[in-house]
Amino acid sequence: MKRKTNTTSSSGGAALRALGRTGAFLGLTLLLVLIVLLGVVWVMEKGPSPTMTATFCRSMRETSAIRWIPNIFLTDEEIDAMKSQSTENADTETVNASLIHIAEGSNLSDGETAADAEPALQLIDIAQGTVKGKLLIVKDPSRVILGTSNNLGHQAGLQLTDMVAKYSGVAGINAGGFNDENGRGNGGIPWGLVITDGQLVWGNGGVRYNVVGIDGDGILRVGTMTGQEALAQGVRYGVSFVTHDGVASSLIINGEIQTQNLASGVNPRTAIGQRADGALLLLVLDGRSINTLGATLENVVDVMLQYGAVNAGNLDGGSSSVMVYGGEIINNCASVTGPRYIPTGFIVLPEGESHG
């Protein structure tokens, strides 16, 4: 009986030792990994490549949950020096509506015949180097409206699939930013401004915002303007967005690249653009995956220009970037907890329907 007890005690000690050793091994490994990661971060932040440093820091700062990482080895002054020269209210250029010629009464552009007509909706896989994503070309801009979550500001947001279904849409992308402190926002409180059906439903009429919107004629309006100015320009559906570093949302205005707004890291991106014939370009670029780390705003501009955008604006990116088509999310959503709850999304109505 005593011998038996000793045997049990001995095997229990061995198990404890094994457990302790495993724990110690894992702890040590974790410590070593952290040390090595610190080394990696040091190389990224203090290494010989200013480009890599800037991209790394911007990428981190654009993400709510890890935007403290650049401060490990860099001072605030050094980080500020990498920020864009853009400020939220710097843009003065406004969209020239005369550059957009929307064919009336049909989906045909000037000189286009039914035989060579572009499809009403065209989904394109974007794969340019490390930049990957989806582009949805909506020929008739009047089919695109802004969807909002229920009881905006008082209730959690909607996942984009639900929002598209709410408006009986056929497709959609996420739109404006929202309150997402430390990445734990519920998508119910928008940032900045929200205009639906020509009404300012969120935001202040006298405050300047970086607006991305669509006016009653289907013309995409991007630029810095107050809520009242946006309404005066005829914006019927609009949101606003700036990055954490205050980079304004205008990417292309009247064919001119807004270079002051392109300083960015690599992240998932959502953007909307418009061609000269009025077709809207809904773009979502993936990121934070093995497949693709993401895209810079320069990449977004490149894609927009390649597909003929005359005006383009940046929307909320990161884990919010999603595109819904046919009732499903068709891009690789970067959110590890599933599609995020968002307050606003640009929704594509079925063919034949319009916001008019």
Binding site: F25, V43, G47, T51, M52, G255, E256, T259, D302
Partner: protein, 504 residues
């Protein structure tokens, strides 16, 4: 040492045999064995811990060495990455290239076919100044031309592509880690001025007028056909062959357009956005007017359009007014048509009711006067009397006052008529008339037409040279004149009853 102890333990019998018998009890031995076993176990545990710590230390050192090596490799890679970023070459190019150089690159690519009315260089310069001057020159990856071996960028300004810059690698793997160092390869103009908005220019101008675009005459090769005249009169709109303008067209013009007419007056443009056409109309500065007078029964056509009583601006009894007692109530109503603002001088014809073509008499105002066809028998019978009247009229009116001439003339005129009063009241004026000689170059008595049994009308047309002496000077003058006359017969004698100057 441990090994020998272990051997002793395992081979206990020989040792036990050496233990004194007083200590050889079971409890002692058992405790001894246990202590030995515990000592052995503790020793084994210490050895195991030492080995584990050694392992961990080696593991940590190796991990850190590998981590450091990885970080070092990353560091080196970062340096290679930075050195191999092709955008740095582009940044240097953008910094070193001025606006004028970009202008030159863009000009090379701007292949623009222009008409003789525009200058491609000036046009490009205007376009560049308007669209690109002062703009920020930027570059973007040229998606269609990009390759890993030859990065390509489009230089842009003002939303326009200017040129395509392609980079070339320096050596192979020059930056390490399989990355290249780059240098400027080629700069290819990519500026397409087809984007420049063009419009067609159409000019309608009066036939034969020369119009000018940007100071240069628009030649016949630009004439594409006829164009309707603006504001065509109602009459001309009924013409079988309507007047027209010439239409000129220049298919594509890109810059400022100034169109002037033959008088140098700038024409106002009229934009047709749907057809991307700008139209100009040169005004007609020479319009025609037509006045035709003819008896009501005469069929008058103007430009192929037959005129009716409803078209006339005036209908009157004419020279027979007041002579109804002699015409037996037969009235010859005369109609007058008047048209202004005609683009062309139309062909005018007149035919009597029986189809005879009539020749008009044109008065000094250019009015065309038609008379009914002549009655030859009447003419033969009454022409001498008309000639007699005319001779007396000229004799009285062109020479110094002579009472005999005056009385002779009055004798040919029916008393109580306006004509009689007219001649009678002219005495005071005619005493100033000069002695004059008359030579007729032409003298025609025509258009004899009966208006009842005791009335006829006729015309006298003449062209004469007059030689006059007034007081102290002599002079000559030519006179071309025509009269319409009405004669009535009283007691078998024809008297002039009315006279109307219809030309002169």
């Amino acid at each position: 040492m441990a090994d020998s102890k272990e051997r002793n333990v395992s081979g206990a019998r020989p040792e036990q045999e050496n233990i004194p018998s007083r200590r050889r009890d079971d409890g002692y031995e058992e405790r001894l064995v246990q202590r030995r076993r515990a000592a052995q176990k503790a020793a084994a545990l210490r050895r195991s811990r030492r080995r584990w710590r050694g392992f961990l230390a080696v593991y940590a050192v190796l991990f850190l060495i590998l981590g450091a090596a990885g970080c070092y490799a990353l560091y080196r890679y970062a340096a290679a990455y930075e050195a191999s970023i092709p955008e740095h070459v582009m940044d240097k190019l953008m910094a070193e290239t001025g606006e004028e150089q970009w202008y030159a690159y863009a000009r090379q690519g701007a292949q623009l076919t222009v008409s003789e009315f525009e200058n491609a260089d000036e046009l490009f310069s205007e376009y560049f100044n308007a669209v690109l001057r002062g703009k920020t020159f930027t570059y973007r990856k040229a998606a269609g031309a990009w390759s890993d071996d030859a990065p390509a960028y489009t230089v842009r300004a003002g939303g326009k592509d200017l040129c395509l810059v392609t980079l070339a690698p320096i050596g192979r793997n020059a930056a390490g880690f399989g990355r290249q160092l780059w240098q400027l390869g080629s700069i290819r103009p990519a500026f397409v001025m087809d984007e420049l908005e063009s419009v067609a220019v159409e000019i309608d101008a009066p036939v034969g007028d020369t119009v000018y675009i940007n100071g240069l005459p628009v030649g016949e090769k630009y004439r594409i056909g006829e164009a309707p005249c603006p504001d065509l009169t109602e009459l001309e709109s009924r013409f079988a062959v309507q007047p027209h303008f010439d239409r000129y067209r220049v298919d594509a013009m890109y810059g400022a357009i100034t169109v002037i007419d033959k008088n140098g007056t700038a024409l106002a443009p009229e934009r047709d956005e749907a057809n991307r056409t700008v139209r100009y109309t040169a005004p007609e500065d020479e319009f025609y007017s037509v006045t035709v007078r003819a008896p009501e029964s005469v069929r008058v056509t103007v430009g192929g359009v037959e005129l009716g009583a409803a078209d006339a601006v005036k209908a009157e009894a004419g020279i027979l007014a007041g002579l109804e007692a002699y015409t037996g109530g037969q009235a010859v109503r005369e109609l007058t048509w008047h048209y202004e603002g005609l683009y062309t001088l139309p062909e005018i014809t007149a035919r009597s009711a029986d189809g005879q073509s009539l020749t008009p008499l044109m008065n000094e105002k250019g009015e065309l006067l038609y008379f009914l066809p002549q009655d030859e028998a009447l003419k033969a019978a009454v022409e001498p009397r008309v000639r007699e009247f005319f001779d007396k009229y000229i004799n009285y009116s062109s020479k110094a006052y002579n009472d005999i001439s005056y009385q002779a003339l009055l004798g040919c005129i029916l008393p109580g008529t306006e004509l009689y009063s007219y001649v009678h009241d002219s005495v005071a004026a005619m005493i100033w008339a000069s002695a004059t000689q008359v030579h007729y170059d032409e003298l025609t008595f025509a258009d004899f037409r009966s208006a009842g049994e005791n009335c006829f009308t006729c015309t006298i047309r003449y062209k004469a040279d007059f030689a006059a002496t007034a007081w102290y000077e002599s002079y000559t003058y030519d006179l071309q004149n025509a009269y319409e006359l009405a004669f009535v017969r009283v007691d078998g004698v024809w008297y002039a009853a009315a006279m109307s100057v219809i030309a002169g």
